[in-house]
């Protein structure tokens, strides 16, 4: 077996210091929580201070913000969007609906736990979380990137079978356009 590298070298640390300052997010406004995003972006809470900027297409984004409950139909689109994003990429799940179903626990049309389908980096608890909580999650993420701990995205490459199995349990056979495992080998992505 290949020797696993656990120690980060100096270059990675420098890069982490620089790249943590720039996070572009794709906000997938599915649930009610999305209403807290406009104040977070604009003059009152101004998230651009941390280098977080809303972006419009998944190709450009590093951060996928999932704001609230996810119906099964939306989940399919989210998976497609997520697979289009370029690594390193992080999912921030927003509100109690993404943690355990929240007040949609009984619903036939929503999923309950997001991390069965996508690797989630950070959860924000609350129904709904205030802008302060969102900013808090960004600073937390920045801190984790700096420490080299924000590696949940690697899980999608190395542990793809688990996610795919769960996705197929909900959708039946689905068609996605990226060969995740081949990509992971091509770009040499392994768990640290």
């Amino acid at each position: 077996m290949k020797k696993q590298i656990t120690q980060r070298n100096a270059w990675d640390k420098v890069l982490a210091k620089l790249t943590k300052r720039s996070l572009w997010m794709l906000h997938y406004c599915t649930g009610c929580g999305a209403i807290e995003l406009p104040p977070t972006m604009t003059a009152r809470f101004d998230m651009e201070r941390f280098g977080v900027l809303p972006m419009v297409t998944p190709r450009q984004a590093d951060l996928l913000l999932i704001t609230g409950y996810l119906s099964i139909k939306t989940l399919k689109r989210i998976i497609l969007s997520y697979e289009q994003m370029q690594s390193p990429k992080w999912v921030v799940a927003f509100g109690s609906c993404t943690i355990n179903g929240g007040m949609y626990w009984n619903s036939y049309a929503t999923i309950k736990r997001l991390d069965m389908y996508l690797p989630v980096e950070i959860y924000i608890a609350g129904c709904m979380p205030r802008p302060e909580a969102i900013i808090e999650s960004f600073t937390k993420l920045i801190q984790r990137i700096d420490e080299g701990k924000a590696n949940s995205w690697k899980d999608y490459y190395t542990n793809y079978d688990f996610y795919r199995k769960n996705q197929e349990r909900v959708f039946g056979k689905i068609e996605t356009y990226n060969d995740i495992k081949a990509d992971g080998e091509k770009f040499d992505i392994q768990q640290p």
């Binding site: 620089l18 651009e48 900027l53």
Partner: protein
Amino acid sequence: MNTVLWIVFYPFIAFFIGIMYMGYSRKFNARVERRYGPSWIQPFYDIVKLMTKRTNISHGWMHDISLLMLLGGTLATLMFIPVPGFSYFAGYGDMLVIMYLILVPSLGMALGVGETANPNGSIGISRALMMLAGYDVPFVLSFIGMGMLNHTTSMFDLIQIQQSNGIASWGIVTNPLLGLAALFALQGMLGEKPFEVYVAPHEIATGPMSEMGGKFLGIMFITHAITIFLELTIFINLFLGGAFTWIGLIVKQLIVFTLVLSVNIVFGRYRVDDAMRFMWKIPGSLALLGIILIIFQQLRS
């Protein structure tokens, strides 16, 4: 030897100054909106992040080559622009060369975006080329006007003529109509509002950039930084008498850029046909009027 050093380092200097302007523009917009705003070197962080992405999706070799064409075309144009201390190539190519070369980046981008087959990208690029046809009319007319006024098409000679007699001989003083037309064209060339039709994030998802991620987008950002420097310098060389020193150049660029940004922040976006119509009607006719004035002047003398 000196020339070789300049050729090697000139693009880097232009890039670093351009990136400062990108940061300045974001900070400026933030302060006008009463936000604290990002750090001054935020675009630098962005570019580092984009260039160190772990995965990259290429849509075929045309997609790869087009970005080289984008960057290469911009660098080639940059070489022909005289700046204080370096005017080696400016002696070989005049404004007509610059007029040609400045079209190469847009065409390169069109080829690459076509390859990605993203409908938003195609709309964006068709809008970009339409805008190009829009702002090229006042831009080229003001070029021609300055050439007729000074009996030369060399940008280097133009600078020397303007520097001969202080502010009174600057292009913007000797022919304000052409200067005004070029200022409008500059707004369109830099892609600032109200002529931001081909980026339009809320409308067509950043158009040409919509399918670009990672290193591709990084190269586009680098090109944009150089383009800001390049286009501001062209305007200054033509109408504000060039500059004797780099400090002078940067001060003049900052003034012009602040003017452009102040217009940018208060306007919304034109529809693409309106933008085109405006470009041909107002700056176009201003430039034509300027040229007619020059012809009359020269007939009389």
